[in-house]
Symmetry: C2
Subunit: 210 residues, 2 copies
């Protein structure tokens, strides 16, 4: 039992892994076979995923992967800008010495990864930096919203991280965030985070109009 939850997690992971194309139809019967589950479980998963904003459903038509256009990705990033700003501020206000040191270490590893041209490694470190900040901020609601928004951005996030030359710019933005948190300067941390995501938004718009 609890096949419900398993299907939900598997399907969500598959979507986040990019195994389905935007606007691709998700036929219940197919998902039943793929995940070896009853239609009941599949339906529940689809309903949950709809609330998550990952799929959209039309009555009597079915479910499909929701397509997130550039305009919507920009809106999502604008919200992320302020909410991650809040997280950065809280992190600066609450970081212990050990936590500050952990951030500084990530910063050093980022510089090393950029110098070595390791884009995959840098992308991982990027995720780890933001996640560490969330852990320090310890703000359930803000963290939840970021997770929610992040799920809808995966496709664009992927495109961004493979933008050549971006890491050389963003590494210093990341460093500014780290420095502000280490200095326990909430205002500066929020400002640095906002500036960082502002540059992400710019890059998003640049992708839109090549």
């Amino acid at each position: 039992m609890a096949a419900d939850a398993r299907v939900l997690e598997d399907l969500r992971a598959a979507i986040l892994r990019g195994e389905f194309a935007p606007r691709q139809r998700l036929v219940e019967a197919e998902l039943c076979e793929r995940f070896d589950a009853s239609r009941f479980a599949v339906r529940a998963a689809l309903q949950a995923l709809e609330a998550d904003g990952l799929v959209e459903r039309q009555r009597n038509v079915g479910a499909r992967i929701r397509e997130i256009g550039i305009e919507e990705a920009v809106e999502i990033s604008e919200v992320r800008q302020v909410v991650e700003g809040l997280i950065a501020r809280r992190a600066a206000e609450r970081a212990s010495d050990a936590e500050a040191e952990a951030l500084a270490t990530i910063g050093r590893e980022m510089h090393a990864a950029v110098a070595a041209g390791e884009v995959g490694e840098y992308s991982d470190l990027n995720a780890r930096l933001h996640s560490t900040l969330r852990d320090i901020a310890c703000h359930e609601k803000a963290n939840g919203i970021i997770a929610h928004l992040h799920g809808q951005m995966v496709r664009h996030q992927f495109a961004l991280s493979h933008q050549p030359g971006r890491s050389k710019v963003s590494v210093w933005q990341h460093q500014a965030i780290i420095d502000a948190v280490v200095a326990r300067d909430g205002d500066a941390a929020e400002a640095a985070m906002r500036a960082h995501i502002a540059s992400v938004i710019e890059a998003l718009r640049a992708i839109a109009t090549p």
Copy 2:
């Protein structure tokens, strides 16, 4: 047909109207009778409401109204602080002359309501001000998140609006927001909105420790 959606909306409205006490159990059979719907529709509604954060469910135990403590209400307000800040900024950047005038009118009506001691009227105007700002900002994602957070706050919002003397303080904060938007000053609008919600958070904390 579409009994599903009706039950969801009715039940959500009932919860938002405060017809259920926090942690009150929501037995499926009872809801079936009350809304004259099938268990199927009720289950779907409960699942959706769980995603909304209005009810919580335990496997094989059932659903109950989620209790939102002061600490969580503060967290919610902290997120609202930055997201409504974003909305205020956008509103200042995008407001047409007609929209600015509409805001100014709401401001005048607020002062009148406070002078007349009409707390219900003032509460309505408060909702209308924020909603008008959202319309002007025209930011789907931000508006959606605010709606989401607002739903979880209704109970505390009610307690706040009946706090004697609050309107005399908040009316000037509201006026500051309106002035900033009318002056098309995004920075000031965001700052004013943040200050306003900071005072809401303070009031929340004051309720917690009487």
